[in-house]
């Protein structure tokens, strides 16, 4: 690589500049330390040394500089709202929606903190039922995505280098159009007068079975969920598969493994981390989805996301909506933890 500074990319220049800053800072700190050494006694020295840090700590300000904005962003827009939500779940709903006050001048007005939303949540199996159902739907969507994405990711990863980028671009191309427009497009595609419906019902008709409605059904919901989330499965899988060393497969072939064995004993175990990150990226958003069941679902396709949305709009019950959201967050975090552990295990196996 050329070391000519004028030909460095801006990123490289920036990193070199940061390195210079870091080393300058290190030199300055060391000089300061020398000046300060004689001020302490022999007991203070280990303490001072523990406090005076390695090179890694000296780079800390730079790290903070870089990771500060996203950190503050997460603090402001994830942690703070999360805490507000936790607080809201312990309050009473306001008469007209919103929240009843925590402190009230009028002692007769409903106010204060309560556990009633949690009591209400656990008082009826129906909420566990809707959680279970949403999990099953999310699981079905994730597995379908996996089955459809794996061959595609493999195909892209094994294509000549030149054609990979255009293929990846094609995978993410649907993001160029609005999410809701794509969902409404499915309403037309699955409608009773559209080709898929006519084909399916024609086939069922020749078999002597009653016609079915594709639109407003669990099938329509699943199709759209898979359609929307497929790229989230393809991309991590592709990134993983692309890194596999082809020499491994050659070695396996030399040792007499057939195509299936090469896939099942070599490629698949190596791709487990990709599968787990893809599955997490699909499973979690599907779990909170409400627009798709609203638009394409039939009379029984309510998911947990719809229920939460309804608490904040129609029912105007913010505390209970918050409780449901917290329950969902807890289960999602549990899933991520599980996926991370399984993913870690997969890596160790490989």
């Amino acid at each position: 690589m050329s070391e000519n500074p004028t030909r460095l990319s801006p990123a490289a220049r920036l990193s070199r500049w940061l390195k210079n800053v870091a080393s300058a800072a290190r030199a300055r700190r060391q000089a300061a330390e020398k000046r300060n050494l004689h001020l302490g006694n022999e007991h203070s020295e280990p303490v001072a040394n523990a406090g005076s840090a390695s090179a890694a700590v000296f780079r800390l300000p730079v790290k903070w500089l870089v990771s500060g904005p996203p950190f503050i962003f997460l603090l402001l827009f994830f942690v703070a709202p999360g805490l507000i939500m936790v607080l809201a779940s312990f309050r009473y709903p306001g008469e007209f929606g919103g929240l009843a006050p925590v402190i009230s001048v009028d002692p007769n007005a409903l106010h204060g903190l309560t556990l009633e939303t949690y009591g209400f949540f656990f008082s009826d199996l129906i909420y566990a039922e809707i959680f279970a159902k949403s999990f099953l739907v999310a699981l079905a969507a994730t597995l379908t995505c996996l089955v459809m994405a794996y061959p595609l990711a493999l195909l892209i990863a094994r294509s000549p280098k030149k054609s990979r980028d255009p293929m990846v671009l094609l995978v993410i191309l649907p993001f160029a159009s609005n999410f809701l427009i794509r969902i409404y497009a499915w309403m037309i595609l699955l409608g009773p007068q559209a080709v898929p419906s006519l084909l399916v019902n024609g086939l069922l008709g020749t078999l002597g079975m009653a016609p079915v409605h594709l639109l407003f059904s669990p099938f329509a919901v699943l199709v759209a969920l898979v359609y929307v989330h497929l790229p989230f499965m393809v991309l991590p899988l592709y990134t993983n598969l692309e890194k596999h060393d082809p020499v491994l497969l050659d070695a396996a072939r030399d040792l007499g493994a057939n195509a299936w064995q090469r896939f099942w004993r070599v490629t698949f175990p190596l791709s487990l981390p990709g599968i787990f990150s893809g599955a997490t990226l699909v499973f979690i958003p599907v779990l909170g989805m409400f627009a798709i069941p609203d638009i394409l679902g039939g009379t029984g396709d309510m998911l947990i996301g719809n229920l939460i949305k309804e608490q904040f709009l129609g029912t105007r019950d913010w505390p209970f909506g918050s409780t449901l959201s917290i329950m969902l967050t807890i289960t999602v975090l549990a899933c991520v933890w599980l996926a991370a552990r399984l993913g870690g295990m997969g890596r160790r196996h490989a």
Binding site: K133, Q193, H213, L215, I295, G298, M302, R316
Partner: protein, 351 residues
């Protein structure tokens, strides 16, 4: 900095000088011609903001939106605005046209004595249907039975949508069972729930808006929907040259009437213009324009003469006295009732 301040002051000064009325209204709920005519008459401008449901409007106001002279909420939303003391009382001496309003729509439970509100237009929740298909199947269109009774439902299975609204659908079921739409007896709610769960397998979907399109295309034959939407669906079907027409039927058991009223928001800077606007809208010919545009119900007696006869004679938009007797406006539920109803609704959707 000083020049910025100057700019802002100039802008404010301009707005004052220009006479602007800020109207916060439903989407597509006033005709452009009406607005233009009012602007000419008052030598002012009308600035409109829109909402698509009451909750959205209430949420925006609760979040601190201000400066609206006039809002057009539905009964229960208006009641909560009144109880939040967010409205300005009307000065009726400035509303001589108020006498045009049919007394049946005055003095509602939401605003006794109409201290704050003047009726604007109303919508009914009723049956909308594909006239040809319903005739072919020989189904009645004047009773809720057609969306709740399996013997009728069998003939239109998968061709029906009902409103995706807890209150509206429960009201229809309660009416069919012979109770009030505002019944809050949990036992009656459970009966309504069972009725809905029995009929649910025959319905295609709970649907709050796309049923207009589905009716127009001919994929859905029967809906529980809003009278304005069904009117719109028929207009669209005729425009698209369909061979069928979409009609509306008012159930004999009764239905929900949603009355939207004009109210003055406390933060509105121009109550004088607002009164002028309300009085203008109370004029029969101005009021009729909205009905002719979207097929909304009209509480203005003086407007009837200006309304297209096919709308004026439509019993699903202007019900006869006997049907009118069975119409009900939905009252707001308290927080406990809302939570219980939401659980019943969850059961309905999950079963």
């Amino acid at each position: 900095m000083r020049s910025l301040l100057l700019c802002i002051m100039l802008l404010i000064g301009n707005a004052r000088a220009e006479n602007v009325l800020y109207l916060y209204n439903w989407n597509n709920y006033i005709s452009d011609e009406t607005v233009a005519r009012f602007e000419k008459q008052c030598a002012c401008r009308v600035m409109q903001d829109y909402y698509s449901d009451n909750e959205e409007m209430l949420a925006k106001l609760a979040a601190g939106a201000s400066g609206y002279d006039i809002i057009v909420p539905t009964g229960n939303a208006m009641e909560s605005l009144i109880r939040q003391k967010a409205l300005r009382p009307l000065d009726k001496s400035r509303l001589p046209n108020l006498r045009n309003i049919n007394p049946a729509y005055l003095n509602t439970a939401f605003d006794p004595g109409n201290r704050f509100s003047v009726p604007y237009a109303y919508t009914l929740s009723l049956l909308g249907y594909n006239a040809e298909k319903m005739r072919e199947q020989g189904l009645p269109t004047d009773t809720w039975a057609v969306i709740f009774e399996p013997k009728y439902l069998e003939k239109v299975k998968g061709r029906i949508t009902v409103l995706d609204s807890q209150r509206e659908l429960m009201a229809a079921a309660l009416k069919y069972l012979g109770y009030s739409a505002n019944d809050t007896d949990e036992l009656h709610w459970k009966q309504a729930r069972d009725l809905i769960i029995r009929a649910k397998p025959y319905w295609a979907a709970f649907n709050a808006s796309s049923y207009i399109k589905e009716l127009t295309v001919g994929d859905i034959w029967l809906v529980h929907g809003y009278s304005n939407d069904i009117f719109q669906a028929n207009l669209d079907a005729q425009k698209a040259g369909r061979k069928f027409s979409i009609a509306s039927g008012i159930p004999k058991e009764g239905a929900v009437l949603a009355l939207d009223s004009m109210v003055l928001h406390k933060t509105g800077p121009r109550p004088d213009l607002a009164h002028q606007f309300i009085n203008f809208m109370l004029d029969g010919s101005n009021s009729a324009e909205l009905t002719n545009l979207i097929g909304s119900g009209n509480p203005n007696r003086d407007a009837l003469q200006y309304i297209h006869p096919e709308i004026a004679q439509n019993p699903a938009i202007f019900p006869d006295p006997q049907h009118q007797m069975h119409l009900e406006m939905l009252r707001d539920l308290n927080r406990h009732q809302r939570r219980v109803l939401s659980r019943i609704w969850t059961e309905i959707k999950l079963k």
